[in-house]
Symmetry: C2
Subunit: 684 residues, 2 copies
């Protein structure tokens, strides 16, 4: 059991590392050489140029203005200053609403923390159960529900608070849902006219022996939407063309480079070798060579384009159909076109940059099978992922490697390498898996056949949340892998499970406090430092960059990464709601996380991240749903905990909460979710 | 344990009672006096007249044509002869598709029965486990899976059969879904033009201080559906008017009666007393009195009508909006009208006779609360219904009654009445509850706020199915009330529950065989006799009927009663699927039920039942869903059973089945359900 002193030490270490990260960031961001790492968003917007133009050579790389170092924390107020409307037009509605998740956390947890410290902490503290029991305990346990004696009447305070916290959380969620829905509708209505607002994506166009997909689509919509149909765009499978375009772009870049080189030094025309890797073969004039290459590729491109248009095999049975009015598009997107619901499927077209092209041609019949396969695969990934990792770990020992690759034996037997293999490799297998996990989940979502990047990210996020729920939250509480948990769930009765988990909750409070500090505080501070992009940018800049365009491309602004970041925020909601009644001492740590993360991500969204798509906050229903899930889980676990504390008669009173919460969720779903799925016909 | 002989005796008794019912029916239906009881459908269609016109007086009541008695079973082929197309135009698609449920049962179970008897019965029979164990057993148990020794390799046969049965059931379900969907679409397309096909029901029209509901609706649809809007009809709360109309109708009937009386006997004008109950007060000329009364009511009606049109409080915030084209109506019914999804809700208008008017004005916000209340109420009804009945039963003993109403003491103490109270009253309390149950469930569904009678019946049916599943199926198997079961489910682990139930299944086979015979065979044969309508009709005919119109109204053709009959069929699906692998001996009994019920209900639909509404087979998705549920339940119980029989290694193999079945269901839902919910825009 960790004491307050232990927590204090841990907090000091984590605060120190967070402060170091923040100081490092404050220093590094002021250096002009890092400008593209810490402000790529402005470069992409075109409102910032490389600071290297003009001035002394040293100034290009190092900031010598000492005064700027004194204001090293100035980025924080700057990040908070931009008003929300400006933020929306600067970084899109998705980003602005993403920040609202942190705000929602603050709105929920600030009053809960105050109430819990005013009511529950005194109620818990003024007992001496733990001292009486003479069990080992810390001061934190004295603040928690563990300190209330068996069957005490004081549990009424906790019960009341469970009700108050639930109603407060629901109230905040309702208000936020309302605000976000209004923001979304206003955003959609106020946007400049964009083609995708008049366009519907039609999939599963049934093949016809007499007509091409294009003709078919035209005839179909001329007949069934005669007053509103405007035009359509067939989707082609143009992988080869895309390759040619890429090749041409690369060649164009070389051409620019050589021309630049020639301009700087007109005395010598740059030459190039045409053979393998540019090292062998005859020398040629580089500019001429590139120009002729580009010409050749352009010709090929034209041929390929013609071929694609003609070859019916390369036409995907999907099309983007545009209408004269938004009304016509809204109607077509929401209605069933034919009596067979597996063909002529219409949905509102995603933005062009949001379309996930590879999945446009999947027939609906395959989707069920794909979902089944992925559901089974995800089940195994979630509950059995320990098995392959244990297998890899067992291989990664000295004898295993020596057996597999005997010729490495002399190297492996070297003491330093040996200790490295023995000490690190097993851990690395797990670490690699956890790093790869979001990509694995994204791959799974892609197999499921969703057609837009935004929906793929949402789907991956819900998978990741489930994974975190079982493999971080529950696994930490009942101290067993998900696989062992599965055994427990199958062999325990329905009312035993919340009891088993509930009992363990107060004991794990200190663990989760440490977790919040390491993963939350230091992690978020590390995020703003952008160590990985910083290193990669400088490596690229040093080895690969030839032209200004190359430098632009070497920037990796990244994006919010909804699929992996949102589930992590949700974990904090879960922790906060579960511990609010049980161990209120955990709440301030979560509050610090929300504040820090809000400032950091607001800064990153303004200065760094580049939006990959704009889904107009389509993710809010799932954010809302997961907070509701966390709330219900917290209620059930509290119920289980109380039933072991001699307060079994409170069960019916507590059982009301999850039922009411569930129906609250249903109400919200009816009331607000259509705003995120359907498109109203009435003009705003 | 019942032996084959016991079953034989029971079968003989039930067959005998079924035959008696059928014979009584064959006799009674030939009597002209019963014509309106057994052929009301034809009267309602206008193609049959009372056989009493002309002919001898006796012939009016008794059939003296002896030859017709010889062909007493002729109704059976007659019932089967009508081709399906004619049946649809005669009794509607709902009825025709309802009969398909029985056909589906036959299609599923005939091959399963044959296979089970060819494969499983020999496999089970050629063991002597039960004899070896020296437990009490019957020949039926020798045919069941109980006869296979612990851990035998013979379970492979049952496993294989579980797969075969699952795939066969799914195949039949898929084909039936396809057929029914096609029938529905063809039916909807081929119908004569009816106003409700061009009409959308709009609910939750938001109040406006400046405009009436009618004006509001007109403006809204003129703006948002300018090209298609035709007209609208506001819904009024006209309860008082309805009362007046009813009163007028009654008075009209009296007028007809007196006029008829006067015509028959012109010498004496009929008179009537105007006072209380027609027994007191001054005598008046009856015809004149009625005529003047009708005039008075007509005047009141006109006033009331005007009042309703003017009073905004009597306008329900709902309207029927008609469009110029089916296309326009289909678009409006499927799309969201405004950004607030709780107002201007549109759905395809039910038929006028199908509308459940009382629920049209419920705001959507109330619906969630109502659903929550009903969900909780139904939960208690399902699991705790035993408690109030036990309470009533405890009251219904001698002492209880004597205490409550002491003055009845002398009567109660009489020996016959005493024994009646002691013997029958407790049972009657339960019986009354079970008779009232469908009405209670229907009331619950009405509170939930559905707007059409057809959807109310579908909702009640699913509630009734849940009730039967817990209180008949599971309660019979594990021999405990649903309340005791609830205890079991809460205290047992997830994989223990199917085991507990699975083990008990083979032992209850004989009970369910008896159940099928009593409830299925004799019950269906009793249905065709129509004892209750027969008695009521003759009572009414004798005491109340004055005019021909009264006689028409005394007929009670009834209807299929989807809400209580369909769940009972589903119980047989459940029994058949559960016992197919375990005790195939039960299957023939179910087959007999399906054949008998099919013939009987086909006859009733052709000759008796009067369709209350036409939902174009909108109930098929729930029929399909419940068969799938039964299939999954049967798979899980078989899994539980096998795991206690030393065939635990088969668990993963069997676990595949429910997962695949579930995804099969999802596929069907995607593929066919839209045909029952949405309306395609393409012309058929």
């Amino acid at each position: 059991m960790a004491t307050i002193q232990d927590i204090g030490v841990s907090a000091a270490i984590n605060i120190l590392s967070a402060v170091i990260f923040l100081l490092a960031f404050a220093f590094l961001r002021l250096q002009p050489i890092n400008d593209r790492v810490y402000f790529p968003k402005w470069y992409l917007k075109g409102s910032r140029q490389s600071p290297s133009h003009g001035g002394a050579f040293v100034r290009k790389f190092v900031n010598l203005d000492m005064r700027s170092y004194l204001k090293f924390l100035s980025w924080m107020p700057a990040a908070l200053q931009m008003p929300e409307d400006e933020l929306i037009s600067h970084a899109g509605l998705d980003s602005a609403v993403y920040l609202r998740i942190y705000l929602t956390g603050l709105k929920i947890f600030v009053p809960i923390t105050i109430l819990a410290f005013l009511v529950l902490v005194p109620v818990n503290w003024t007992n001496d159960t733990l001292e009486g029991l003479k069990v080992e305990h810390s001061d934190i346990d004295k603040l928690s529900i563990s300190n209330i004696p068996f069957g005490s009447k004081r549990f009424i305070a906790h019960l009341t608070m469970a009700y108050v916290f639930t109603f407060w959380t629901c109230y905040v969620l309702l208000r936020e849902y309302e605000i976000v829905a209004t923001m979304r509708l206003r955003f959609l209505a106020s946007e400049k006219r964009r083609p995708d607002q008049f366009t519907v994506l039609v999939r599963n166009i049934p093949p016809d022996p007499d007509e091409s997909i294009g003709e078919l689509a035209e005839h179909f919509f001329l007949v069934n939407h005669p007053d509103h149909y405007l035009t359509h765009q067939v989707v082609y499978n143009a992988n080869k063309l895309a390759k040619l375009v890429k090749e041409k772009k690369k060649m164009q870049n070389w051409l620019d480079y050589y021309q630049l080189k020639y301009e700087r030094n007109t005395s010598k025309r740059p030459t190039v070798k045409t053979g393998f890797l540019g090292c062998f073969g005859s020398k040629m004039d580089a500019v001429e060579h590139c120009a002729s290459e580009i010409e050749r590729i352009e010709k090929e491109e034209a041929e390929e384009r013609e071929k694609i248009m003609k070859d019916p095999k390369l036409v995907v049975p999907a099309a983007f159909v545009s209408f004269r009015t938004r009304w016509g598009a809204a109607v077509c997107a929401q209605t069933q076109q034919t009596s067979n619901p597996t063909v002529w499927l219409t949905e509102w077209a995603p933005e062009p940059r949001d379309v996930y092209w590879d999945n446009l041609s999947i027939p609906i019949v395959h989707l069920t099978v794909r979902r089944l396969i992925i559901a089974v695969a995800f089940f195994f990934l979630n509950f059995f992922y320990v098995i392959p990792i244990a297998f890899v770990q067992s291989l990664a020992n000295i004898e295993g490697i020596e057996k597999a690759v005997p010729f490495l034996k002399p190297i492996i037997e070297m003491p330093t390498i040996k200790s490295f293999i023995q000490g690190f490799l097993p851990g690395i297998a797990l670490k690699i898996f956890l790093i790869l996990l979001p990509s694995i989940l994204m791959f799974m979502s892609k197999v499921e056949g969703l057609t837009s990047v935004s929906s793929l990210e949402r789907r991956s996020a819900s998978k990741y949340y489930i994974f975190l729920f079982f493999n971080v939250f529950l696994a930490s509480i009942i101290a067993g892998s998900a696989l062992e948990q599965l055994q427990t769930y199958l062999h325990q009765s329905a009312n035993q499970i919340p009891r088993t988990i509930g009992v363990a909750i107060p004991m794990k409070a200190t663990f989760f406090i440490t977790y919040v500090m390491v993963d939350g505080w230091a992690g978020v501070a590390g995020e703003i430092l952008r160590l990985k992009p910083l290193v990669i940018f400088h490596l690229k800049n040093f080895f690969l960059v030839k032209t200004e365009k190359d430098r632009d491309e070497a920037m990796d602004p990244g994006s919010i990464g909804f699929d992996s970041n949102e589930p992590q925020i949700q974990l904090y909601f879960l922790l906060g709601l579960v511990y609010a009644v049980v161990t209120p001492f955990l709440l301030p740590f979560i509050l610090v996380f929300y504040v820090l993360a809000y400032v950091v991500y607001r800064h990153q969204i303004i200065n760094v991240y580049n939006q990959e798509y704009e889904s107009a906050a389509a993710f809010w229903p799932s954010v809302h749903g997961r907070i509701i899930t966390a709330l219900i889980v917290s209620q059930l676990l509290f119920l289980g905990l109380l039933s072991t504390k001699g307060a079994g008669q409170s069960t019916p009173v507590l059982l009301v909460l999850p039922v009411v919460t569930f129906y609250f969720h249903k109400y919200c779903k009816n009331r607000y979710e259509p705003a995120f799925v359907e498109y109203p016909l009435q003009r705003q």
